[in-house]
Amino acid sequence: MKDMTDQVKEIATKLLESGQVDVFMAWEKGDAPHQSKPFFARNVADVEKIIFDEYCIHNLSTYLTRFRDGKEKIAIVVKGCDSRGVVRMLEDHQMKRDRLHIIGINCPGMKDPLEAMKQHSGFERETGEKGLAIKCLQCMQPNPVIYDESLGEIQEPHFKGERFTEVKALEAMSSEERYQFFSEVLSTCIRCYACRQVCVACNCRTCIFDEAKPQWVGRETSVGDNFMYHIVRAFHMAGRCIECGECERVCPVNIPLMLINRKLIKDVDHYFGPYDAGMAYVEGGKPPLSLYKIDDPDDFI
Amino acid sequence: MHKNSSENPLVPQIVEVVKIIDETPDVKTFYVRDESGVPFNVMPGQLAMVSMLPIGEGMFSVSWQEEQDHLEFAIKSVGLMTSEIHRIEVGQKLGVRGPYGNGFPVEKCKGKDMLFIGGGIGLAPLRSFIKYCFKHREDYGKIQIIYGSRSYADLCFKEELFELWPREKDSETFVTIDKPEEGWEGNVGFVPAYLEQLNPDPANKIAVICGPPIMIKFVLQSLEKMGYQDEQIITTLEMRMKCGIGKCGRCNIGSEYICLDGPVFDLAQLRQLPPEW
């Protein structure tokens, strides 16, 4: 992907030099060879650090909230999943389309630098080379859905099978079994809220979990408070999650967040759809749960 | 496992509210004591954690300790816990733990003329030092108090401001409100401007400031203009607090914990800290 790096750098130089943008959001090489990290170039001198390689997994669109109150023009490099995040930001009125210059990269799939760091940390038992990241193996939209210029060949999604297999298995459980299942997997959540911090759909200025008056959800790491957190989070993701997989990737204790997200995606699509969040930007467009339609189903209430 | 251990600094002692005074529309003073009187002794400027046990805890400056009888807290309603505490009535049990923090340097100030500059609820911590000076009148020189609030209604401790303190020997009390008001014959204007107008001489003087951050900022500038040295200026800092004993981490500014090493600092010390105050 040497060549992709050069193309991105070329665009960055052009945009920063001409003053068309104030910030160019991309990646730089991290400390380890198997690590890339988000990087915001602010002038031409910064451009040399920019790279694009197989470890550029982070969804940069989340970082747009940093600039939401400003006036800067921003260039952002996006993969397929990230571009859906940009749509999320635009639909949520966190960013104006005319402040953005979007460079879309048709994405061949990424490796997870976090996995790689862990593999090499000495803390892991199996240390074989990891292939593509799970989120990329499950990706349905490798090609950006919104861009001002695009790079690379159009890619076929890696994901071929049946999208909701695991969700269906979950639905097939009895309610006791399901309760058992969630008690077990959610009991280990350490409530660090990394899944929220990394999420492009979590763009509220004051998150309900940080509210102190009243405090809606306790901070105890107990099954009760953990359930509360995950239920509220799930409600807030319905129809809004763009399936970038970042939450599950960063969770330090591997909570199956994408399983929960996919259940929501399936239900929103079924009851209010057809709908897939962030697949196209229409000015004034809104996710279905932000709209009320007279024929919305209500038999599950 | 034991009951109400007073050796555990994070466990409160239970006290009863014996009197409540409405100071302003959003400030009330609470007198608290247990069967034997004060739950612990405090020095002027020290803090205590007050809990409405089922609701929350908040760190407040003790605005006065009346002998061994009771502690007084002037509390402004700003958040969940403070608005709840404004609803309680005499007889309510509360938790308190403390005392925390360094308090005002009452010893170092002996023999000095004192200038107290306060704004709004900032008079609450100052009051403990002002009353202490009056109580130990012979230890301190001239006492001047400059205090301001938004309006007449927002002035705290009115009886002391207008009746008691002006009667004290060798002392002056100056009160100002932000905007003119019917019936108000005193000064109108912000505290820093009033201070510059009064222009108290820095010689042998210690200035103690307490109030909203913006007031402190301008008062510091005025004092500097008037020739006060950093060592002559004392103020208190505010940070969010949870433990009060320098363990929970959150009240740090640089390497200092405000709950333990503060809340009182002189300006020379403050200038050593990172500019986060």
Binding site: D31, M117, G122, T188, Q197, D210 | L10, P54, R240, L260
Partner: protein, 339 residues
């Protein structure tokens, strides 16, 4: 010298667990941390004694992520304190690394010194015994030596084990408590002279010298902006750090009963310094990021004489955006102090 044969481990653990809660470094499902011996399922869980370390540090054992403080009842205007939950259960942590033992020293400094003793911490800590597993193969992110400790020695470890492979562990009782425990299990140990293993060198050169002093003048340095750009303030680094000790105090009530508990908190969170009136002295992510590194590398050193990092490398391995404390030190050393 005393030797613990590896085939005696089970017997030893079984014996230790009779009188104390015993914790072992274990991979339990998706989590790796120090888990209670009693809860281990041999068919599912994997012991991590020969791995470099586990992700969740043993901090949880002396400073639990959620810890009950006291309970109370309330009715009308009345309030009664019910129980204070200090927990003096005897505990043994088996197989910690030097960085984690040292981090417990740092927690001791915080919770025992400077005017107040934290009684919750004291009741746990004074009844916890530490068995160090000396490190002969530092990992790629290890830099404990640079932070002022030795990977194979420790003053506060009660017992030090040296893994001599097939021969077993060399068992060194290092404190009074350690000697006492050794006396109780002596029958399991063997007397034999074997040679200590050969340590491998550190792969990464790190130099903390001068960093605290340098950072003192860098509070307002522009470098904090690019350094903090990638950070999403997720706080994972502070939760996995064996040294980070910040906590929050919260209350839970149900009807007329309630209890106060404390739980870990992090200076990376916006809510951490948010005051009742809504003012936040550390409004931006950059300010919070800066506080974390300054606290570890400068403020703590100024206050207590040692940095609040023992070089375990956990935060480096788990940061989802590739922030690296070694790199921060190097960059801080590399720039002009005030710009």
């Amino acid at each position: 010298m005393k030797i613990l044969k590896k085939n005696q481990l089970d017997t030893l653990w079984e014996r230790l667990a009779r009188n104390a809660e015993l914790y072992l470094p274990t991979q339990k499902g998706d989590q790796s941390g120090f888990f209670s011996y009693k809860t281990l399922k041999p068919e599912k869980d994997t012991l991590m004694l020969d791995a470099l370390n586990v992700y969740l540090s043993p901090k949880n054992i002396v400073l639990p992520q959620t810890e009950m403080m006291y309970s109370f009842t309330h009715q009308g205007q009345e309030i009664n304190l019910e129980e204070v939950y200090e927990d003096p259960t005897p505990r043994i942590i088996f197989g910690l690394r030097s960085c984690d033992v040292k981090s417990i020293d740092r927690l001791d400094t915080v919770f025992f010194t400077r005017g107040f003793v934290d009684e919750y911490y004291r009741s746990r800590r004074e009844n916890t015994l530490l068995i160090l597993n000396a490190c002969y193969h530092p990992g790629p992110n290890c830099f404990c030596e640079a932070m002022g400790l030795s990977p194979r020695e420790s003053e506060s470890a009660d017992i030090i084990l040296h893994d001599a492979g097939e021969e077993g562990y060399i068992w060194v009782a290092n404190t009074e408590k350690g000697r006492e425990l050794t006396g109780n299990i002596e029958d399991i140990l063997e007397e034999k002279e074997i040679s200590y293993p050969q340590p491998r060198p550190f792969t990464r050169e790190v130099d903390y010298t001068g960093v605290a002093e340098k950072l003192k003048d860098m509070f307002s340095h522009p470098i904090w902006h690019p350094l903090s750009d990638p950070c999403i303030n997720c706080g994972i680094c502070t939760y996995v750090c064996p040294n980070c000790y910040c906590f929050d105090i919260q209350v839970k009530t149900r009807g007329e009963e309630g209890y106060r508990y404390r739980c870990w908190d992090s200076c990376m969170y916006g809510e951490y310094t948010m005051m009742a009136g809504g003012h936040n002295p550390r409004e931006t992510g950059m300010e919070r990021f800066r506080n974390r590194f300054l606290h570890k590398l400068e403020f703590f050193t100024e206050r207590y004489g040692e940095p609040l990092c023992t070089g375990c490398g956990r935060c480096i391995a788990v940061c989802p955006t590739g922030i690296n404390i070694i790199e921060i030190m190097e960059k801080a050393k590399g720039v002009e102090p005030s710009a």
